[in-house]
């Protein structure tokens, strides 16, 4: 049966508008005086001054609105390759240097996590040198840690920070000691992402930081949201992609750049003559993992429907955690959902798996066959209450 138009609502149709060529204004949207030099979101024009001021203001507003960070708090800043991280450093430095009451009054500590396994020795050294140089140009020290070494030995954070060797030939083997070699790329990505978060929290705790800043921007939020839904992490959307992830009792992870798009930050950097960190990108097949496919999907849909990313982010903003969930997942620390429903997809999948592997006694009547199977199934309590749905699926890939 054709299911097109099954649920139609004229409110939401306007959000699915195709990109049309709108006439661009020949004065800045903000000051209405100057000639514009930049177009954002395909329709808003700004002059250089207004654009720069607006951008900084947007950053301050996202921090200020949350009222989370207080005087003298220490904040671990995760510095990554690309434009967003550099813009973030610039926001921080200019904010700290202000002599007005609006001055930022917390202490950022910068951390670069080395996990670029496609680079050779020379390229790796260059990357580290460039990172050091760029971060010091903002008056900060750059701290380093190797992801592979952390994963091999998570208790050893104090010795791993700023160690002499950040990468080695056997880094990938080190990872394979923890993540099973035959894991799908999707599961590998999911596990790496969990481990990275754990690393940030452990380093933050060691350096007595109450907060971590990560440089995710709107398109990252949108594609992470869709990826997480596809992995079964729908109930954690508000902490996975929201502004604040407060799963840990001591450290909160914040995403101060989540409302920005890449063009904004790349041009912000350009006008401020800032250099960003970049590396040779290895070719990735977008169909090799759920995460890569979602990134490709969002980028392409955004081209034709410019409201895609903001709509997805807004949808995420409207979701929250289940208040009835009391148990925290052992792996990801997210709440383990408790369902009111009589039957769930988790149960159904387990039943299907069970039924596909059970021999049926054809001599018994249909009803008897079913009740035998059902009883047997009910007895096999294969739901691990200590892990959430998605972590249950990747737990087998951990070699612990």
């Amino acid at each position: 049966m054709c299911s097109v138009g099954d649920d139609f609502d004229n409110q939401t149709e306007k959000l699915m508008q195709k990109a049309t060529l709108t006439k661009l204004s020949d004065t800045c949207n903000k000051c209405r005086a100057e000639k514009p030099c930049i177009v954002l979101r395909g329709k808003d024009t700004y002059c250089k001054n207004c654009f720069l001021i607006n951008t900084v203001h947007k950053f301050k507003a996202s921090l200020g609105k949350s009222r989370l960070i207080h005087l003298n708090d220490r904040v671990l800043v995760w510095y990554q390759i690309g434009h967003p991280s550099v813009a973030l450093l610039h926001f921080l430095r200019t904010g700290l240097d202000l002599s007005t009451p609006k001055k930022l009054r917390f202490h950022p500590i910068i951390l670069f996590v080395y996990d670029q396994y496609q680079l050779n020795n020379k390229e790796g050294k260059e990357l580290i040198e460039n990172a050091k140089r760029i971060v010091s140009s903002f008056g900060f020290d750059c701290n380093f840690i190797s992801f592979a070494d952390y994963v091999s030995n998570p208790e050893n954070v104090p010795n791993l920070l700023n160690s002499e060797s950040l990468f080695a030939e056997n880094d990938i083997e080190k990872l394979n000691l923890v993540i099973h070699k035959t894991s799908s790329r999707t599961n590998r990505n999911d596990i790496k992402s969990l481990l990275r978060k754990k690393l940030l929290i452990d380093v933050a705790k060691y350096w007595k930081c109450k907060f971590v800043f990560t440089p995710e921007i709107s398109i990252d939020i949108a594609s992470n949201l869709l990826s997480n839904i596809s992995l079964g992490r729908g109930s954690h959307v508000s902490i996975d992609t929201g502004f604040c992830d407060d799963r840990d009792d001591e450290v909160r992870i914040l995403k101060p750049l989540r409302q920005f798009d890449m063009k904004e930050l790349a041009l912000y950097n350009n006008f401020n003559r800032l250099e960003s960190l970049s590396v040779r990108k290895s070719a990735v097949n977008p169909y090799s993992s759920v995460q890569d496919l979602m990134a490709k999907f969002v980028i392409e849909l955004q081209k034709d429907f410019p409201a895609t990313v903001t709509t997805i982010v807004k949808t995420g903003d409207k979701l929250s955690l289940d208040k009835n969930a009391e148990v925290k997942c052992k792996l990801c620390k997210g709440p383990v959902s408790v369902s009111d429903d009589l039957v769930t997809s988790q149960q159904s999948t387990n039943f299907s798996r069970f039924v596909s592997n059970e021999l049926v006694d054809c001599n018994k009547s249909r009803q008897e066959r079913f009740s035998t199977i059902c009883n047997k199934f009910d007895q096999t309590n294969n739901e691990n209450e200590l892990l959430c749905y998605s972590c249950t699926r990747i737990y087998g890939n951990f070699m612990l």
Partner: protein, 357 residues
């Protein structure tokens, strides 16, 4: 060397089921598939005994398999249900004619009574006539709105206790993705429910909710069930197409994604601060709606008054135009020869308002 059936019956496997990755022989697959639907039906307490169930039948694979399996389970497990096939004739030449023939064959093959209701009966317009009037740009909107109401109205007319539809796991996963893409949090919170109430007291149930589309196709194939499969001639590249392609690509990477998305939909919670639309009853026809005048009445108003874009756009505009029309009503819009004074078109009789429920 063919592999053996994973249920350890000794037979050779003939298919690999996407839902779990297990290889099964034909017989064990039938048993597993049917057991799973029975599991869903019983655990979710979908039906009460001694009730009547209308099965939304389009002649497509989902409704054919639904009809077959419900009939089978009804007999084997003594659900004590009275089953009907309910079919809607949209009046699309070439599409519906063939699919209705298939439904009639299902009626004969499965020995289940059939009731056909047409858009012409319910609304006074066939889809062919609507497309002739408005072109192909928004025809799916009309069809979808009318069809959704038609099934409910049909269920009401037949005075059944339940309406069962063939929505499968792929459909539901796709709907979850669609609702995220278009920011419809209200629908997002409802679309994974196995039982939904359209407000008039007749629950809509989805017994095939956890069945993979691929497995439905395999079941129909191996059971040699007859069904009609083709694209509606009017269906354009709807936005939903993007979600569909995405889902198919995801399934190729890992078929478990379909159940993962449904799980996400089932477990996500809407924040208390989000505004959700409240439901009321349409002032024209009594159907449940979030607006004062339901979508179908709005669209019909447009068709009947030669305003084809009415209902395709902002609701505030719609309200204003309807209010203006209300004022004109007293002034009698039609001339003596039954033609519209504004456009000169013949006025089509609308039996729609007679169906006050």
């Amino acid at each position: 060397m063919p592999s053996k059936c994973s249920a350890k019956c000794g037979r050779n496997a003939v298919l690999k089921r996407p839902k779990t990755g297990d290889s099964l022989c034909k017989e064990c697959f039938f048993e597993a598939f049917e057991n799973e639907v029975h599991f869903t039906v019983t655990k979710a307490k979908l039906f009460k005994p001694n009730t009547t169930v209308a099965i939304g039948a389009s002649g497509g694979k989902d409704s054919t398999v639904l009809a077959y399996v419900l009939k089978l389970l009804n007999e084997k497990y003594d659900y004590k249900l009275k089953l009907f096939l309910l079919s809607i004739d949209e009046g699309i030449t070439g599409y519906r004619d063939d699919s209705l023939d298939t439904v009639k064959q299902n009626r004969d093959d499965y020995d289940i009574p059939l009731k056909i209701l047409s858009y012409k009966d319910l609304y006074g317009w066939t889809m062919d006539e609507i497309v002739a009037e408005i072109g192909r740009k928004n025809n799916c909107t009309f069809c979808g709105v009318f069809r959704r109401q038609a099934l409910d109205r049909g269920a009401n007319l037949l005075k059944v206790d339940y309406l069962a539809t063939g929505h499968n796991a792929d459909d539901i996963a796709e709907t979850v993705l669609m609702n995220i893409l278009r920011g419809d949090v209200a629908r997002l919170s409802r679309c994974t429910s196995i039982i939904t109430d359209s407000g008039d007291g007749i629950p809509r149930v989805k017994p095939l909710k956890y069945c993979y589309e691929k497995e439905i196709v395999m079941y129909a194939y191996f059971r040699k069930l007859v069904y009609f499969s083709t694209e509606c001639v009017f269906a354009p590249n709807a936005y939903r197409g993007h979600a569909r392609i995405l889902l198919k690509d995801l399934e190729k990477i890992d078929p478990a994604v379909i159940m993962n998305i449904i799980h996400s939909g089932e477990t996500m919670k809407v924040s208390e601060h989000s505004k959700m639309p409240t439901l009321t009853k349409c002032t024209r026809c009594g159907y449940v709606s979030s607006q004062e005048i339901c979508k179908a009445c709005v669209l019909l108003e447009g068709l009947n008054k030669g305003l084809p874009r009415l209902g395709i756009g902002k609701s505030s505009k719609v309200k204003r135009i309807l209010e203006e029309n209300e004022k004109l009503k007293g002034a009698s819009c039609n001339g003596e020869d039954n033609k519209c004074l504004c456009s000169g078109n013949d006025l089509k009789p609308s039996k729609f308002n007679d169906l006050k429920i």
